[in-house]
């Protein structure tokens, strides 16, 4: 028994079809039409990945430049936010913090965590020390925040400090005073807040973008049938007339937010002398991915982003997947091989998203549980990946930080999440508003998320292969 369930969360129509209906012989009037052709609505697509593309790479650098640039760029926003939040409080640099009196300081947060894994752990004789490996998160009550600017760092203390929700790399402002032991007692903390936003264009009719993540090809556990269902559905080979016309036909673009392959983590350490042969064995699934992508690209404009387990580089920003791995799909002009993070405009609606590494990393190093909350925090921090490069691997940029949010996108999404979630994040007083979407792993949830360009409503569709 198979079931395709189209569950609306905030969207008005609730459609539900069953196996039998879906596979029923087409009604006579469209018998002439070849199966698989749906009239598909078009939307104008503008990729904006340029700032994430790396042309020439130079690894003779360190990460300090990235932090330096980030602080330089973000300082004014954090200071403005501080002045708005605490009028009359003087904002100073750490080196000029007076011995007495209340001041505000802007700087980069650093979270000192005893459980933070380190490459030095490999050298620790006592093997039991590496027990934190495999932990879901590394927070503990003794974690401490430190504020750092170009000149110095300062240990923060005080009960008012939301240590749990903060992560390393966020540029923030704190208000408080110095204690005799040299620590800074923080009474309050504020972030830069949402960046400005272009007005939401009017898209006259319902048009959808399908966001999917974590196809997990090559994963022995999940059913390949479910992926086939997805492909067939998106290509318009499944479903009744109404379904195909009202939903599938209105899907103007499909974006795969990473996770084409089952994670190939076990191959990432090619040290043993037999590993070359093992690597060769792992190439099989890529062909399966190519087949699926070819079918999709034939039917609908498609963007693919590399994710954590995909054959692309490891550090953020991940560069587009190489065409030579997808000889079939790459032949279609409808296939757009995107970077991760990926930014694009569809009919003037701006999308920005990642394959989820940034959100997962914040989750590991903070006490924030809810992925939607983390996405919201990213907006308020005005930064897409604050934990890069500390715990999230990133390219050592010089005089640049492409992860700084210069403007608020209309939609911010993250792939590879445990479950679907969405919210509308608004700056108070009618400022910017952003739809944030946690796109779950398809291979574990069977979920595809449709975002309506006209309303920014989100609608998950679940595919399930129930077996007797």
């Amino acid at each position: 028994m198979m079931e395709v369930e189209v569950a609306g969360l905030e969207a008005p129509p609730q459609l539900k079809g069953t196996y039998d209906e879906l596979l029923a012989a087409p009604a006579s009037d469209d018998a002439a039409a070849p199966t698989g052709t749906v009239v598909r609505m078009a939307a104008s697509f503008t990729p904006k990945d340029n700032r994430f593309l790396l042309k020439n790479r130079d690894y003779d650098r360190q990460y300090s430049q990235l932090y330096y640039y980030r602080l330089e760029q973000m300082r004014k926003h954090a200071e403005e936010a501080a002045q708005r939040a605490w009028p009359g409080i003087q904002v100073v640099h750490i080196l000029s913090v007076p011995e007495e009196g209340e001041v505000a300081i802007a700087g980069t947060l650093y979270k000192e965590m005893a459980l933070k894994p380190s490459i030095l752990d490999e050298y620790v004789k006592d093997r039991t020390m590496s027990q934190q490996l495999g932990r879901a998160r590394f927070t503990q009550p003794d974690d401490r925040l430190i504020l750092e600017d170009e000149g110095a760092r300062l240990a923060l203390c005080g009960d008012k400090l939301p240590v749990g929700e903060c992560v390393t790399g966020v540029v923030a402002a704190v208000r408080g005073h110095v204690l005799p032991n040299g620590d800074f007692e923080a009474l309050d903390l504020c972030y830069a807040g949402l960046p400005p936003q272009a007005p939401l264009p009017a898209v006259g009719e319902d048009k959808y973008v399908a966001l999917v993540s974590g196809l997990g090809v090559g994963d022995g556990e999940s059913s390949p049938l479910r992926l086939e269902l997805l492909v067939d559905y998106l290509s318009g080979l499944l479903g009744g007339e109404q379904e195909r016309g009202q939903v599938v036909g209105r899907i103007a673009r499909v974006v795969v937010a990473g996770g084409l392959l089952k994670s190939n983590a076990d191959l990432s350490q090619p040290t043993a002398y037999s590993s070359v042969r093992q690597q060769a064995a792992a190439l099989g699934p890529v062909r399966d991915v190519d087949m699926a992508l070819t079918e999709l690209a034939a039917a609908v404009p498609l963007g693919i982003m590399p994710g954590a387990g995909d054959p692309a580089n490891y550090t953020l920003p991940q560069q587009p997947l190489h065409r030579c791995m997808f000889p079939g799909a790459a032949a279609y002009s409808t296939l757009h091989r995107a970077t991760n993070p990926h930014e694009f405009e569809l009919d003037g609606v701006t999308f920005l998203g990642t394959s989820g590494q940034n959100v997962d990393d914040v989750c590991r190093y903070s006490e924030l549980e809810d992925r939607v909350t983390i996405l919201e925090k990213l907006l308020r921090w005005r930064h897409l990946a604050p934990t890069a490069p500390d715990t999230l691997a990133a390219y050592p940029y010089f005089n640049n930080d492409p992860f700084i949010l210069r403007s608020t996108p209309h939609v911010l999404f993250a792939g590879g999440q445990p479950q679907f979630g969405t919210a509308l994040v608004e700056e108070e007083a009618g400022g910017a508003a952003c739809r944030v979407v946690a796109v779950p792993n398809f291979c574990t949830t069977g979920c595809v998320v449709l975002v309506n360009l006209a309303t920014l409503y989100c609608q998950p569709i679940y595919f399930d292969a129930l077996q007797d």
């Binding site: 690894y59 932090y67 110095a152 002398y273």
Partner: protein, 1011 residues
């Protein structure tokens, strides 16, 4: 009443005190005791009237008081010319004393000695020589020269005072009310808060027991300095300025320092939690620092390598700058410190040259010296020491970078200041972590010597002090024996016994039976001592039943005739240790517990060093009859134990197996009982220990301690085993002679050996160990190993050009000097190197290369060298007992694929003429002009090839990120570049290697055409 804990006892010359030492002398020794009261006030007590003396044999039993006067007059006549003081008399008096010598068993309780009392301590040696050379006793009319052994003429004056007044190092002393005179503050000679004078006879010394076990809140100053060296030179005080001095003052027992101060040359941005003082003039900086020392008035000055670097540098720098007033760091007002070259030579610790700086009233405690003495580590840099004990890496800024930071701005100097402060804080943390203050104070208390002796002198002074104290109570005097001369020429005597090992791999339990405190207990059991030794040829003078003849033929009297001094000292030490351990168990206060723990360790060490003292031919009182008797008894006991165990535990006596003694060394035997069960072996071991103990005289006791299961016995003094003390769970891997901690070994050997042992002993999977070794060897040949595993390092003890022999590190240092003066190793640095491939027939020393240079220029590592010269031997040793043919580890399929890096053009040689051409990434065939990545035959596999390439990049990227962010965390700053060049850090070379390889791998990746 004035009560304080004294930390330093020394003496000075001065005018006699009119009240406490009325005399006609002009210049007399004055003992000074520096210490701290319970309230934390510093005290200087001047103790007057203690006169130096020594003993000689009386020429005849009829020597009269008149003769004494005559002798004193004679001595005065002889000494007058040799006395530099303005004293009218040198020998104050000669007294008659009935004493007995400590040497040899003396049936008579006492005989007549002369006590020669002198005016100043320096005359003791002069006068001693007179007696040794012979002195004419004219008035006795026989015109003969009188020669005599001198007694206790080699006792240092300060120690003499302490012994006679029962003062031990670091104990509490009391100046009873009315017996002393306080000096008004304006009349102070010292910087101490309290100053008092008294006569030595009034001083009350409290034994460090009960309430007097406590510690006073003394002040500890931790120092670190930074200097700005010239390019290519290690800083020298004649040329290079001191640019920063960090000082931390901590009150003993407090967690946090009370003062954190950093003084900088030129401006420095503020540091929260520390006081920053900036100076434009180096002289002002130094003088202000001196003032800080005087204001803080520390009792103890600590630091890392301060004795050989920081302190002498400061003093010499002051000389260069012509500010002599800088030298007044001591507690005496306007008295300069003294500095001289000294050599410390000790059997136990080896020979070291060092600067002896005396800072009056302040004890110096150099952590480097202490840790070198007490711990065997592969490296003693502050970085590795703190990694070892505190579990954290330390940033290490190269001296060329220090100059750059200093020449920058206030913020870069601030960075340096933070670094400097950290370096001053680490010694303090090490002191706390290793409980050094407790342990050293307790050691001083137990052995009775001043604290400062513990670091600057060897073991023997400690035993000597105890012997002197003990013999004093028994009315004995200790002869000053002629030194044995060259220690290497000393009479060799047979050492401890080692039973021939039955090498092999035992996978059944092996029980270890140990003699507890073997040598001390032998000395006690057989009453071995100077005072019980019967001289050769005198054996027949005493009835046989009162004699013990040691297995090597020396004779001692039994305790029925006399108890020895040494056995008594040992008894007291061991009893005190028992007490200390009991007190430790009962103590609830962690401070007190630390005190007791320090004491019980000090007692144990002291008890064990008594034997060594008797065998030290250059020591104060060598007596090889004692030490060789001790070892001969030990040998006999080991053999006896073997005999008894094998006699009892065999099938004939109803046991399931025949027991076998597979190995024995010094104080332990390893018994293979043949049983499978660890618990059963423990039971048997316990039983056997008890059984065998019965055969020996108390307090000799054979103890069962542990079982090894499995046990890998390689050869004499080389074994490894999994140690069990309780049957449920093993404790640890115990090894001897295997893990070569020698630091001129590369890390690879240590890692491989450790991992193999783990696999063999814990997992009991020798097969896996073989596979692992093969994997490592293959990785080595495939150039996949982390370079830091291959780095070998040796210290450069003198300028590279001064070496006469060609050594690898020296040749390399010369080469590096030619390349770049600034980063070349200077004298005192360790030179790390790797062995690279070189032309055929190249000498080993020509193959050494700077690891960084080798990385940058892709110089191929000589893997075969590592395999043959470093890995082969330890592996053969380890696997010989396990495998039939261990050689197969080093040959075979896993050694057939070899990867050699292509050297870059910069490395010269043939590469200058080579032309570069791209090869196919799939099959390595040369590519045609139009091809970028793969040849036409591999075209359809391009996706796979790409994927493999990207995976390699992936791994490197992950490492790059993890490594560089770790370094940022370690240096404690996100916004500043990592400067650290600590070659001791495990990731230093890896960081560079990854950086380079990543660049190359990316270049390969980019050959895949446009996106």
């Amino acid at each position: 009443m004035l009560v304080f804990q004294q930390l330093e006892v020394d003496y000075t010359f001065g005018a006699p005190h009119p009240v406490y030492y009325p005399t006609d002398l002009k210049e007399v020794p004055v003992v000074r005791m520096f210490g701290v009261t319970e309230a934390g006030n510093s005290v200087a007590a001047f103790v007057h009237g203690f006169e130096p003396y020594f003993y000689v044999d009386a020429p005849s039993a009829a020597f009269s008081p008149d003769d004494c006067q005559a002798l004193a007059a004679e001595l005065n006549a002889l000494l007058a010319g040799r006395d530099k003081s303005r004293n009218p008399r040198q020998c104050l008096r000669v007294e008659l004393a009935r004493k007995q010598t400590m040497m040899y068993y003396q049936p008579q309780p006492s005989r007549l000695f002369l006590k020669i009392v002198l005016s100043v301590p320096t005359l003791v040696t002069t006068c001693k020589k007179l007696f040794e050379e012979g002195i004419s006793l004219k008035w006795m009319g026989n015109g003969k020269y009188y020669r005599s052994t001198t007694y206790e003429s080699n006792v240092l004056y300060a120690l003499r005072f302490m012994i006679d007044c029962s003062v031990v190092g670091g104990n509490w002393v009391e100046l009873p009310a009315g017996s002393y005179m306080l000096v008004a503050p304006q009349g102070h000679q010292t910087h101490c808060q309290l100053e008092a004078h008294l006569n030595y006879s009034e001083l009350v010394s409290h034994a460090p027991e009960g309430e007097w076990a406590k510690m006073a809140p003394f002040r500890i100053l931790s120092v670190d300095i930074e200097c700005q060296g010239r390019k290519g030179h290690f800083p020298e005080p004649e040329h290079d300025p001191v640019i920063q001095i960090a000082s931390l003052v901590t009150e003993f027992g407090k967690k946090q320092p009370a003062v954190r101060n950093i003084m900088t040359l030129k401006s420095c941005a503020p540091i929260t939690g520390a006081e920053v003082m900036s100076f434009d003039d180096e002289k002002a900086l130094l003088l202000r620092w001196r003032d800080l020392v005087l204001e803080a008035d520390p009792d103890i000055i600590i630091g890392y390598n301060i004795v050989n670097f920081d302190l002498p540098y400061l003093l010499n720098r002051a000389d260069t700058l012509k500010i002599p007033q800088f030298w007044t760091w001591g507690r005496l007002r306007n008295r300069r410190c003294r500095m001289k070259d000294a050599r410390f030579s000790s059997k136990a610790y080896g020979t070291h040259d060092f600067k002896e700086i005396s800072i009056e009233g302040r004890v110096q405690f150099d952590l480097l010296q202490a840790i070198q003495r007490d711990h065997k580590l592969s490296s003693y840099s502050l970085n590795s020491v703190s990694a070892h004990f505190l579990g954290e890496q330390k940033e290490d800024v190269h001296h060329s970078d220090i100059s750059k930071l200093q020449d920058g701005n206030a913020e870069s100097r601030r960075r340096l200041a933070i670094y400097c402060l950290k370096d001053a804080y680490l010694p303090q943390r090490l002191v706390d972590k290793l409980m050094y203050m407790y342990n050293y104070v307790e050691m001083a208390r137990v052995t009775g010597v001043p604290m400062s002796y513990l670091l600057s002198r060897g073991q023997s002074i400690k035993v000597f002090s105890q012997i002197l104290r003990k013999s004093r109570t028994k009315n004995l005097v200790v002869p000053n024996m002629k030194r044995g001369g060259d220690p290497n020429e000393g009479v060799a005597y047979e050492g401890a016994t080692v039973l021939e090992p039955k090498a092999g791999y035992y996978d059944k339990p092996v029980a270890t039976l140990d003699f507890a405190s073997l040598y001390p207990s032998i000395m006690m059991a057989h009453n071995l001592c100077y005072t019980t030794l019967v001289p050769k040829g005198h054996e027949n003078m005493f009835p046989k039943e009162h004699l013990t003849i040691s297995p090597n033929g020396d004779t001692f009297v039994k305790s029925s005739l006399a108890t020895g001094v040494l056995p008594e000292i040992l008894q007291e030490l061991l009893a005190a240790r028992k007490r200390a351990r009991k007190d430790m168990g009962e103590a609830t206060d962690p401070f007190l517990r630390a005190v007791f723990n320090g004491r019980q360790m000090a007692l144990k060490v002291s008890a064990n060093s008594v034997y060594g003292f008797t065998g030290a031919t250059v020591g104060a009182l060598p007596c090889l009859e004692i030490s060789s008797s001790v070892t001969s008894f030990g040998r006999e006991m080991i053999m006896e134990t073997r005999r008894r165990v094998m006699e009892k535990y065999n099938r004939a006596n109803g046991y399931t197996h025949d027991a076998d003694v597979i190995y024995g060394d010094t104080d332990s035997v390893m018994v293979y009982f043949g049983v499978d069960d660890t618990a059963a072996a423990m039971q048997l071991g316990l039983e056997a220990a008890e059984e065998v103990s019965k055969a020996f005289i108390k307090p000799i006791k054979l103890e069962f301690e542990k079982v090894y299961n499995p046990y890998l016995l390689i050869s004499k003094k080389r074994y490894a085993g999994l140690l069990w003390t309780k049957p449920e769970k093993w404790d640890k891997i115990d090894t001897k002679g295997i893990e070569t901690v020698r630091r001129d070994n590369c890390l690879l050997v240590r890692n491989v050996v450790t991992t193999c042992l783990e696999k063999i002993l814990v997992e009991r999977a020798p097969g896996e160990a073989c596979d692992y070794v093969k994997g490592v060897i293959s990785d080595l040949l495939m150039n996949k190993l982390d370079l830091s595993l291959l780095v070998i390092s040796k210290g450069l003890t003198q300028d590279a050009d001064d070496y006469e022999n060609k050594a690898a590190h020296v040749e390399l240092a010369k080469k590096m000097k030619k390349r770049d003066l600034a980063t070349a190793p200077a004298v005192g640095d360790r030179v790390p190197y790797v062995i690279v491939k070189a032309a055929k027939g190249a000498k080993a020393y020509e193959k050494a290369e700077d690891p960084i240079y080798a990385l940058r220029n892709n110089l191929p590592i000589d893997c075969q060298h590592y395999l043959d010269h470093h890995l082969a031997q330890p592996l053969m040793r380890l696997f010989e007992p396990i495998m039939k043919n261990p050689k197969e580890l080093l040959t075979g399929a896993h050694t057939r694929s070899i990867m050699v890096t292509t050297p870059s053009v910069a490395s010269g040689g043939i590469m200058k003429f080579a032309q570069k051409r791209l090869t196919c990434l799939g099959c390595r065939a040369p590519l045609g002009k139009s091809e970028q990545t793969v040849c036409k035959h591999c075209k359809d596999k391009e996706g796979e090839v790409y994927q493999r390439t990207v995976l390699g990049v992936n791994d490197l990227e992950a490492q790059f990120s993890a490594l560089w962010t770790q370094c940022q965390r370690c240096q404690g700053s996100l916004h500043q570049d990592v400067l650290c060049r600590s070659r001791d850090c495990p990731i230093f070379y890896r960081r560079m290697k990854v950086q380079k390889e990543l660049g190359e791998a990316q270049a390969t990746l980019q050959r895949f055409e446009e996106w």
